[in-house]
Point group: C2
Chain length 87, copies 2
């Protein structure tokens, strides 16, 4: 059993109004050193696979087919054995 | 300049209907090995700080004060120098 932790972010060339809104909120409560904010999705999948490589292949395919929008978004993920490094 | 990459996730004890919906979608298109799915937020902040420690402190404070809901959510983050490991 493996856990894959996936970060999906909007590409830099595409406007991120949610990120801009959070950036303004942060600056309005005094975080003046925050210069740029981008918001994306964080997805955790628990995958029943026998090897880390297999879990990676399933994650990659799930991102391509369903989780990420390949036109507007980039994704990256890491695989961890279940039980280790997981809350 | 540093980039902090923040993952915010709903605590395990709290129901995640969005995650369940994605889990069912994945299973319906043939990903039967995906057993559990949780969805959270991924936030990237560009921080104008002189040290990694200072950037970490600002990120921690921003999570506590604005970005995460301390009752329902957990967060974790990593800090990277800007220019390295960033798209």
């Amino acid at each position: 059993m493996f856990i894959s932790k996936i970060n999906i972010r909007i590409r830099d060339t595409i406007l991120d109004p949610q990120g801009k809104a959070v950036e303004h909120s942060l600056q309005s409560i005094g975080f003046n050193s925050v210069k740029d904010t981008r918001i994306g999705k964080y997805i955790e999948l628990k995958i029943d696979a026998s090897t880390e490589k297999e879990a990676g292949k399933i994650t990659e395919e799930a991102c391509r087919k369903l989780l990420a929008n390949p036109v507007m978004e980039d994704y990256e993920f890491e695989i961890f054995p279940f039980g280790e490094k997981n809350k």
